[in-house]
C-alpha cells in the first residue's frame, strides 16, 4: 500500500503545475471563455510539446508509453487552474482508439493527436440528455460499403473545434437497448454534419450536432459493428475517473482560495476564519475533498493496474458530483456578497458545477450503476 507518487509522477505533476500557473491564470480563463473557440491554440500547442497528448500512447504511435494514472495527475492540475481545453474529450477518444482500434486506425490517428494537430470528441448524448443506451436514437443503416448516419446529438463537448468525433449510433433493432450499437469515426468537417454551439453558464461550448445522411465508410467503424456499447462503457468509465480528477483539483483550488479569503477578511476585528461558523464549514470541505482526492487516485491506480474498475469509477463520480457542488456553494457563500460578483474568481468554479456533473454521468446515473454492481456483489464469506 503506497499513497505516494513515483519519481516520474511527481515530475509530471510539478511540470504541469508550473506550466498551468504560468500559462493559465484566471485572466486567461476569462479570455478563453469569451473566445469563439473555447480553448487557446497556443496553450494547446505547448501542451503537445510537453508530450501531454501522447503521454499514454506507445512510442510507435508518437507517445511516451505512460499509464492512465499520468492522465489522472494532469487532469487534477488542469482542474486546479480550470483550464478550458478539449483535452479530456480528445483523451477519452484516444484511449478508445488504443483499446479498440485496428492497427491501421491507430497508425492513422494517434500520431496526429500526439502532435496536437487533431482534436477529437465523443458524441454520445441526445435529446434525453442521458448516458443510457436507451437514449440513443441516432441511427445508421448499411448501404454497400457505407453507412448512412442520421440523427441529432446534444451537449457534445468541444464539437465546434473537433476534427473527428466518435459517434455512437444504433445499427440494429434489438430487444436490449445496449445491443445493436456501433461507434463510428466521423470527420467533423463533413458538410452534412451541422454543429451549433449551445450557450452555457460554464462557457464550455458544448454543441448540438445534426447528422443529415452522413456517409461513413465501413472502415470507419471503431471496434465491431453492433457491439459498440462495450466501447461506450469504456468511455464512460475512463471519462468518469478523469473528469473526477479534474473536479478534485478544482475543489482543492476553490477551498484554497476561500481559506485564504477567510484568513484575510476581517469583521468584528477578527478574520472571519476564526469564527466556527466559517471554520467548521471549511473543515467539512477539507474532509470531503481529501476523501475525493484519494478515491480518484485509488480508481486511477486500479485502471492502470488492470483491475475491474466500474464500481470504483461510479463511486468516484458520485462523490465528485456531490462534493464539488457542496464545496462551490459554501465557497461562494463564505465570500459573502463578493462571491456573487463576476469580479470574484470563485464564480469561475461555481459556474462549472452543472457542466462537471453532467459530463460522463450525473449522480443518479452513477448511483444506478453502483447499485447494479452491488447487486452482483457477494460479501466475504467465512
Amino acid at each position: 500500500m503506497d499513497f505516494g507518487f513515483s519519481e516520474e509522477q511527481r515530475l509530471i505533476q510539478d511540470s504541469a503545475k508550473k506550466f498551468l500557473v504560468k500559462e493559465c491564470p484566471k485572466e486567461k480563463v476569462r479570455e478563453i471563455e469569451k473566445s469563439d473557440k473555447g480553448y487557446d491554440r497556443d496553450i494547446w500547442r505547448k501542451m503537445a510539446e510537453l508530450g501531454w497528448m501522447g503521454i499514454v500512447f506507445p512510442e510507435e504511435h508518437g507517445g511516451t508509453g505512460g499509464e492512465f494514472m499520468d492522465l489522472v495527475i494532469l487532469m487534477e492540475e488542469m482542474g486546479k487552474n480550470i483550464l478550458p481545453s478539449p483535452f479530456l474529450s480528445t483523451m477519452v477518444c484516444s484511449l478508445s482508439i488504443m483499446q479498440y482500434g485496428t492497427e491501421e486506425q491507430k497508425k492513422k490517428f494517434l500520431p496526429d493527436i500526439a502532435e496536437g494537430k487533431a482534436i477529437w470528441t465523443p458524441a454520445l448524448t441526445e435529446a434525453s440528455s442521458s448516458y443510457k443506451a436507451s437514449g440513443i436514437e441516432t441511427h445508421a443503416s448499411a448501404k454497400g460499403d457505407e453507412y448512412v448516419l442520421e440523427g441529432t446529438k446534444v451537449f457534445v463537448p468541444d464539437a465546434s473545434v473537433a476534427n473527428h468525433m466518435l459517434v455512437v449510433a444504433r445499427t440494429g433493432k434489438e430487444a436490449k437497448p445496449e445491443d445493436g450499437i456501433t461507434v463510428f469515426i466521423v470527420d467533423a468537417k463533413n458538410p452534412n454534419v451541422e454543429v451549433e454551439v449551445i450557450p452555457t453558464t460554464a462557457h464550455d461550448k458544448p454543441c448540438e450536432i445534426k447528422f443529415d445522411k452522413v456517409k461513413v465508410p465501413k472502415g470507419s467503424i471503431l471496434g465491431k459493428a453492433n457491439e459498440g456499447w462495450e466501447i461506450v462503457e469504456f468511455m464512460l468509465q475512463r471519462g468518469s475517473v478523469l473528469k473526477s480528477a479534474e473536479v478534485s483539483g478544482a475543489s482543492q483550488a476553490a477551498l484554497e482560495m476561500t481559506n485564504d479569503y477567510a484568513k484575510k477578511r476581517v469583521q468584528f476585528d477578527r478574520p472571519i476564519g476564526s469564527f466556527q461558523a466559517i471554520q467548521h464549514k471549511l473543515a467539512d470541505m477539507l474532509t470531503d475533498i481529501e476523501g475525493l482526492k484519494y478515491l480518484v487516485y485509488d480508481a486511477g491506480w486500479r485502471i492502470s493496474a488492470g483491475y475491474p474498475s466500474n464500481l470504483h469509477a461510479s463511486i468516484v463520480k458520485v462523490r465528485a458530483n456531490e462534493v464539488y457542488e457542496r464545496v462551490c456553494i459554501d465557497c461562494v457563500k463564505t465570500h459573502g456578497a463578493m462571491g456573487f460578483t463576476d469580479e470574484c474568481d470563485i464564480g469561475l468554479y461555481y459556474r462549472r458545477v452543472k457542466y462537471n456533473q453532467f459530463a460522463f454521468g450525473d449522480s443518479d446515473f452513477h448511483k444506478e450503476r453502483i447499485a447494479a454492481e452491488l447487486e452482483r456483489y457477494s460479501p466475504p464469506k467465512l
Partner: protein, 404 residues
C-alpha cells in the same frame, strides 16, 4: 502509488477469518459489546481477548519484548478492520489498555512500570484491563480544565476528585488517570500529571451511568483520599498534557480502521437483506429509492476507507498525523449516522425493537442496525466531539486562527 495489500497482510486476513469461523458462533454479529453491559457478555469478551493474545494479535504492533510481535501498521489495520467487520469481542479489552496505555507506557514509563503493566495487557488478562480517567463534570471538551487533584504526600500522592464517562470503569483493574499536580500555573494545561491508580484502592467509588437504552458502558468514578505510591507517576510531574498529546497522535490513527470495518459489515448486511426481503412483490433492493441510498452509503464508506488508509500510510512514513485522525473521525461520524438512518429506514417498523433483545423473533440482522442507530450519537462525542475535531481540522489542517 499502489493500493493493494501485500502478501503478509492478505495472509493475516485469511487467518483472522479462519479464527472467526472456529471461535465464534455461526452468523455472529454484535455491535458494541466491548464494555459489556451484562456479566456473561463480559466473560465472553475476556475469553476472546485471551484467545486473541494467544495468537499474538491483541497487541500485535507492540515490540516482542513487551508481548507483541512487532507487526506493521498495515497488519494492524487489517486486523482492526477484520475484527470489527466480524465483530470479534475483546479486541480492545476495555479500550484503554491495548489502545493507548500500553503505547504511552512504552514512550514515557519507567522500566519497572513497563515490566509490571505491559505483560498482563498483552496476555489478555483481567489484570490488563484499564479504564481512562480524563473527563470530569467540568472538563469535557475543555479537558485541560480538569480539577481532580494529586497532592504529594511523603512517598506517595493523595488523589481527590471525580471522573465521569469512564468507559469500562466497572471492569477495569487500573485507571490511567490525569490529575492536577500544580494548581498555580499560568495556563491550565500546565500542571497536569498522569498516574496509575489501582481500582481496588480504598477510596475509589464506581457508579454506573446507563445510556438511554439502558446499556451500561459509562461510569462515574470518585476518588476520596486515595493514596497511591510515587512510583505510579508516569513520566514527569506536570508534563502530563504534553505526554498525552504525543501519545495521542501515535494512537489516533489506528482507531479509524475498526470503524470502517464495522460500517462495511452493516452495509453488506443491508445489501443482503434488501435482496432477500420482498416488498410489493419484488426484492426491496429493486426499489429505486432504497438502491440509490445504498449506493450513496457504499460511496461514502469507500471514501472513508481511503481516508483511513492515507492516515496510516502517513504514519508508516514516520510522519505524525496531526489533523488527519480528526478528519477521519468527523467523516466516520457522518458515515455512521447516515448508514444508521438508511438502515432503520430499510428495517421499517422492526427498527423499533429493543437492542438488548438480540435474539427476539422480531429482531432483524441481530439488531446491528438499531445498535448503530443508538450508538452513533455517543460515538460522535467520545474522544472529541465533532465540533472539537473540526476546530483541530481548521487550526492544523487549514492553518486558520484558533477559534475557541
Amino acid at each position: 502509488m499502489d493500493f493493494k495489500f501485500g502478501e503478509k497482510e492478505e495472509k493475516l486476513r485469511k487467518e483472522i477469518r479462519e479464527f472467526v469461523k472456529a471461535e465464534l458462533p455461526p452468523g455472529w454479529l454484535m455491535i458494541g459489546l466491548e464494555e459489556g453491559s451484562k456479566d456473561e457478555d463480559w466473560q465472553f469478551t475476556m475469553l476472546m481477548s485471551k484467545k486473541l493474545a494467544e495468537r499474538g494479535w491483541l497487541t500485535m504492533a507492540w515490540p516482542e519484548k513487551y508481548g507483541g510481535r512487532g507487526a506493521s501498521l498495515w497488519e494492524q489495520l487489517v486486523y482492526k478492520e477484520e475484527s470489527r467487520y466480524w465483530s470479534i469481542p475483546g479486541t480492545s479489552m476495555g479500550v484503554s489498555g491495548v489502545n493507548w496505555v500500553g503505547p504511552s507506557l512504552m514512550l514515557f514509563g519507567t522500566e519497572e512500570q513497563k515490566e509490571k503493566y505491559l505483560p498482563p495487557i498483552a496476555a489478555g488478562e483481567p489484570d490488563g484491563v484499564w479504564c481512562t480517567g480524563y473527563s470530569e463534570p467540568n472538563a469535557g471538551s475543555d479537558f485541560a480544565n480538569l480539577q481532580t487533584r494529586a497532592v504529594k504526600d511523603g512517598d506517595g500522592y493523595i488523589i481527590n476528585g471525580q471522573k465521569v464517562w469512564t468507559s469500562a470503569g466497572h471492569r477495569a483493574r487500573w485507571c490511567w488517570l490525569a490529575a492536577r499536580t500544580n494548581p498555580n500555573t499560568p495556563k491550565k494545561h500546565q500542571g497536569i500529571s498522569i498516574f496509575i491508580v489501582d481500582m481496588k484502592s480504598k477510596g475509589v467509588t464506581i457508579n454506573p451511568i446507563l445510556n438511554y437504552c439502558g446499556y451500561h458502558g459509562f461510569n462515574e468514578v470518585f476518588f476520596d483520599d486515595v493514596r497511591i505510591p510515587a512510583a505510579n507517576l508516569v513520566g514527569e510531574e506536570n508534563k502530563g498534557w504534553y505526554q498525552l498529546m504525543t501519545s495521542l497522535s501515535y494512537e489516533r490513527g489506528s482507531v479509524g480502521s475498526g470503524a470502517y470495518g464495522c460500517n462495511k459489515r452493516i452495509l453488506d448486511e443491508l445489501i443482503q437483506y434488501t435482496k432477500e426481503v420482498k416488498h410489493d412483490g419484488r426484492p426491496l433492493f429493486q426499489n429505486p429509492v432504497i438502491r440509490h441510498e445504498l449506493a450513496e452509503r457504499a460511496a461514502e464508506i469507500e471514501a472513508q476507507r481511503v481516508l483511513i488508509y492515507q492516515t496510516i500510510w502517513k504514519m508508516t512514513r514516520k510522519e505524525i498525523p496531526i489533523y488527519e485522525p480528526s478528519r477521519d473521525k468527523v467523516f466516520n461520524d457522518m458515515v455512521a449516522e447516515r448508514l444508521a438512518i438508511t438502515g432503520t429506514k430499510i428495517l421499517g417498523a422492526y427498527s423499533q425493537v429493543d437492542t438488548q433483545y438480540k435474539d427476539s423473533k422480531w429482531t432483524k440482522l441481530k439488531g446491528c442496525v438499531e445498535s448503530l442507530y443508538w450508538l452513533f450519537p455517543g460515538t460522535a462525542s467520545a474522544a472529541g466531539t465533532d465540533e472539537i475535531e473540526k476546530n483541530i481540522i481548521g487550526q492544523f489542517g487549514l492553518k486558520l486562527p484558533k477559534s475557541y
